[in-house]
């Protein structure tokens, strides 16, 4: 190449090559020309991959074919027809709801490591589901039951006194009428953070022992049936629910505890190799998806070595290496 070509030229050529490749019958001369073009500049390869990716997105268009045929959708009048059909469907749905005031339904949701998902529930409530979590929801005329199989979720509960909303996390039960709260399932119990209203908490080990906890509370509830313990030393409810904004508040946590928190959100694990470093205290807000940044801060604050590879971030040197 004699001169650097503009991004626009590169995009145009990439579109031409992607269209040619889509024909599916490249001649050997064309194949050679394409390979030469791709090899000439990494930007060519990038623009070609991007064009191919945009082209692949359109495969989703097949799903559009069934309900509203695209031939109809070509004109603005076509969109009007589609809107009319949607309006009819809405009327039908409304009629259905007025007959069945509390429709029965069930649903299951899951998130992968690092994902936070917002879901709207059938009764008008909603849930923000944290990293690596699974829950199932069963709605009946008498009750709204959520089983937290794993992980953590925050619930904004639509008020309905005749239909209690109960979250179960192992042996722990949290019952709300109209409120917002989060439950995190742990091995020996659950953490409950109340953002609005009042919840009632108990363990199936001692169903008679019930605690009413008001907004602002952060509690650890052991499965054993002993009463809940306050987690006030860990900051307020806002700190506990920072994950909803993709953040982590390390209020009063040790380095080792913070590492456990980061490892909930990332496949790259933080390993605290030096136990003394693990006991140091730390305060600060971090992004849940940036364990590297946390490691850097720990390294700088405590003068600890940080070694990183593809799967692990190691904080501190093990005692025998020092």
């Amino acid at each position: 190449m004699t001169e650097r070509r503009t991004a626009r030229t590169v995009h145009k050529e990439a579109a031409q090559w992607a269209a040619r490749a889509d024909r599916g019958d490249l001649t050997s001369a064309e194949t050679q020309a394409l390979d030469a073009w791709l090899a000439a500049d990494p930007r060519h390869r990038g623009a070609y991959a991007r064009a191919a990716a945009i082209w692949s997105t359109l495969d989703r268009a097949k799903a559009l074919a069934a309900p509203v045929h695209l031939k109809v959708a070509r004109s603005r009048r076509g969109w009007g027809l589609a809107a009319g059909a949607a309006a009819l469907a809405a009327v039908a749905a409304a009629a259905l709801v007025s007959v069945q005031v509390f429709p029965r339904s069930s649903a299951a949701y899951e998130t992968v490591v690092g994902e936070v998902k917002h879901v709207a529930l059938a009764d008008g409530s909603s849930a923000d589901i944290n990293t690596n979590s699974a829950l199932s929801i069963s709605m009946t005329p008498r009750a709204r039951a959520v089983a937290l199989e794993r992980g953590e979720a925050w619930f904004k509960v639509a008020k309905n006194p005749s239909r209690p909303f109960i979250v179960s996390a192992g042996d722990i039960r949290v019952r709300a009428v109209g409120t917002a709260f989060a439950v995190r399932r742990m091995s020996g119990g659950a953490e409950v953070h109340i953002t609005e209203g009042v919840v009632e908490i108990w363990s199936t080990a001692a169903p008679g022992v019930r605690t009413r906890a008001p907004a602002g509370g952060r509690l650890y509830v052991p499965a054993s049936g002993e009463g809940p313990r306050s987690l006030a030393g860990r900051g307020g409810v806002d700190e506990g629910l920072a994950w909803r904004q993709g953040r982590l508040a390390l209020e009063g946590m040790s380095v080792a505890e913070a590492a456990v928190e980061f490892n909930r959100y990332n496949k790259r694990r933080i390993v605290v190799a030096d136990p003394a470093l693990g006991r140091k205290g730390l305060v600060g807000w971090f992004r849940t998806n940036q364990p590297e940044h946390f490691a850097e801060v720990v390294g700088q604050t405590f003068g600890a070595p940080v070694t990183t590879d593809a799967t692990t971030i190691r904080l501190g040197a093990p005692p025998h290496e020092r």
């Binding site: 991004a7 992607a18 490591v113 936070v116």
Partner: protein
Amino acid sequence: MERLRQDVVVWIGREIIPHEPAVRAWLKRNAPSSIEAEDILQEAYCRLSDLQSVEQIANPRAYFFSVARNLLLNAIRHARVIRISSITDLELATLDDGQPSPERVVAGRRELERVRDLLASLPERCRRIIEMRKVEGLSQREIAERLNVTENVVENNVSRGLRFLSKAVSEDPIAPSRAPGKDHDRTKNSKNRP
């Protein structure tokens, strides 16, 4: 397109391209005038297309940002005309846009809507041909026969359509601009329905 891994291409289409406007805006804010944001983006797509697997990338948006940032840092170092202080500033600049948000998943569900809007934005002839290719699943040759035109005409329309789409996704694919009136009202109402 055997030169690219098909799973990676699909992943780029679903998980990366929707964030392109945000990454471009970040690059434009942070790149010195001697470096073109568009060049960095094309190189970023090259890096992404070389990935051997994508399952391990939990947050594609943050990953896209970090690839773009590293390429920008390299370009700045390479240029050797920038004072060291500006490199330090850039390294310290937090990638505020890199956070995952609950909306991200909602946006994913709107993907079909996005494809529909993308198709709707095409000129008539391009759209007809791309619909025949992607919705009806005809090959370029079959489309040429059906429309009684040469295969070159079909290919040129695919290429032209791709250029339109390329421009459309670079603008704002997550929140496509909507026609005012009924269409907009319908979207609003559907939210309130149980």
